[in-house]
């Protein structure tokens, strides 16, 4: 798949949240989206997910743009927002079944159970989501997107709530996703973790894309760009 972004801008009221973003991404790329608070990371993810419309510019996924009725495109894009997008008063497995039917992904009950086992939620499958901890909700979100199989997977700060094994689980999932031809864009403040995982890094600063490079070892240009907005280095 191919993601092309051209002159993308988004304004809220009198302020630019994003300004003139150009970007080309291809299958297999695992992209780290970095930047300080308020840099526009979440806005950019929402634009990619088609939840908000750009003020100017265009987003193309395999040549298609988000518009009312572009439902096939929506099937290709997933947004993993760690504790969000789950119904609190449905059980774990009800949530999965609901979203799987919504995306018309047919899964046998056994496959559902297996997916839940793989994120260590097997014993909790009949619990209400309201009773899960935020880390478990994040695991459930991972299971959800494993089942829904989008091509472009967007993640908004998934690390904060996960424990060690959860992080391994997430990273394994993301690597497998990219190896299967998908694209991952992950916004995060956990720079050291993300840098190990990613194949590509973007830095947003005050709504502008100030850095856009494939990973190298070592990576002096990244260190320079990064220190500009965070003089004391990352976490």
């Amino acid at each position: 798949m191919r993601l092309s972004i051209d002159k993308l801008s988004k304004a809220y009221g009198f302020l630019w949240a994003l300004r003139d973003i150009h970007l080309e991404l291809q299958s297999g790329q695992l992209v780290a989206l970095l930047g300080p608070n308020g840099a526009g990371k979440t806005t950019l993810l929402k634009l990619f997910a088609g939840l908000i419309l750009p003020t100017a510019g265009s987003i193309q996924l395999d040549g298609a743009t988000f518009a009312p009725g572009a439902l096939d495109l929506r099937r290709k894009v997933g947004l993993l927002s760690p504790a969000d997008h789950l119904y609190e008063n449905l059980t774990v497995s009800e949530n999965l079944r609901f979203f799987a039917s919504l995306y018309r992904r047919r899964h046998s009950p056994a496959a559902l159970v297996q997916t839940l086992e793989s994120v260590n939620l097997g014993p909790r499958r009949d619990d209400y989501v309201a009773n899960l901890s935020s880390g478990m909700k994040c695991r459930l979100s991972i299971a959800k997107w494993q089942l829904l199989q989008p091509e472009l997977l967007l993640l908004d700060e998934p690390y904060g709530v996960l424990d060690g094994s959860g992080v391994d689980l997430l990273e394994g999932f993301l690597r497998a996703h990219c190896a299967g031809g998908g694209v991952v864009i992950m916004a995060s403040h956990h720079v050291s973790r993300v840098l190990q995982l990613c194949s590509h890094a973007l830095i947003l600063h005050q709504g502008r894309l100030t850095f856009n490079e494939a990973k190298q070892q070592p990576w002096p240009s990244f260190d320079r760009a990064f220190s500009e907005f965070l003089p004391h280095g990352g976490s």
């Binding site: 809220y12 009198f14 302020l15 630019w16 419309l53 502008r208």
Partner: protein, 235 residues
């Protein structure tokens, strides 16, 4: 930009002058030249304000409908400005109609207000489009407000025939429409100078309407320009 604005401003001035002249002539014709009504006497002369203003209001709501539909289809800001401007002026003319009608009703029917079909319909129009303006002002996000208002602008207009039908069936006390009576050409019912006065007055109201609309539209455009300027000076 400034050179282009000048002729537009000039022609708008001409439009305003024409409107003023036509209304003045219409009033003179209606109040002085046309004979008093055979049954209602002098008070019937209020018709020369009442009828043109409600027809103009209907035209205005039709423009809200057109602007709303175009906005949802093309997402062009100018269509939204058109719909918004037309709604504001439509509410103004509807309110004028009700006030003039009330003044006319007092000596004719003996009451300021009666729940006759046409009065009720006009009052409902006022409620719907006041609601439209409230909806706009209560939604923070501008593009969201524009689409919400556009939906209401379309539904409100499509609802008018149904409301019209229902309030007519409910109760009718109003004098039958005096100008367009079926089977009789209008000039046989009404004194020709009354018709002339009405026609001139209507032309005057139309000119006034488009004058106000162009002013209000210009205001909307200027707001957009200010927003764009402030955006440019921002990030």
């Amino acid at each position: 930009m400034a050179q282009a604005a000048k002729p537009i401003r000039k022609s708008r001035g001409v439009l305003g002058a024409l409107a003023l002249t036509a209304i003045a002539i219409g009033l003179y014709w209606g109040l002085v030249i046309a004979p008093p009504d055979a049954y209602q006497g002098e008070v019937q002369r209020i018709m020369y304000l009442h009828l043109p203003s409600i027809l103009t209001a209907y035209l205005s709501y039709f423009l809200v409908f057109v602007g709303s539909g175009m906005y949802l289809w093309k997402r062009e800001k100018r269509d939204d400005i058109l719909a918004h401007s037309a709604a504001e002026i439509g509410v103004l003319f509807t309110a004028l109609t009700i006030i003039a009608g009330s003044i006319w009703g007092r000596p004719t029917w003996g009451v300021w207000w009666t729940w006759d079909a046409r009065l009720t319909l006009t009052a409902i129009l006022l409620l719907i489009y006041t609601g439209y303006l409230m909806l706009r002002s209560l939604i923070e996000d501008e593009s969201r407000a524009a689409s919400a208002a556009a939906v209401l602008g379309i539904i409100g207009f499509l609802d008018i025939p149904l409301i019209h039908m229902s309030v007519y069936w409910w109760r009718t006390l109003h004098q039958p429409p005096s100008i367009l009576q079926p089977n009789k050409p209008p000039w046989e019912n009404v004194h020709p100078s009354m018709l002339t006065a009405l026609a001139i007055s209507f032309a005057g109201f139309l000119l006034l309407y488009f004058y106000l609309l162009s002013l209000r539209y210009r205001l909307g455009e200027m707001r957009e320009k200010i927003k764009a300027r402030r955006l440019e000076r921002g990030v």
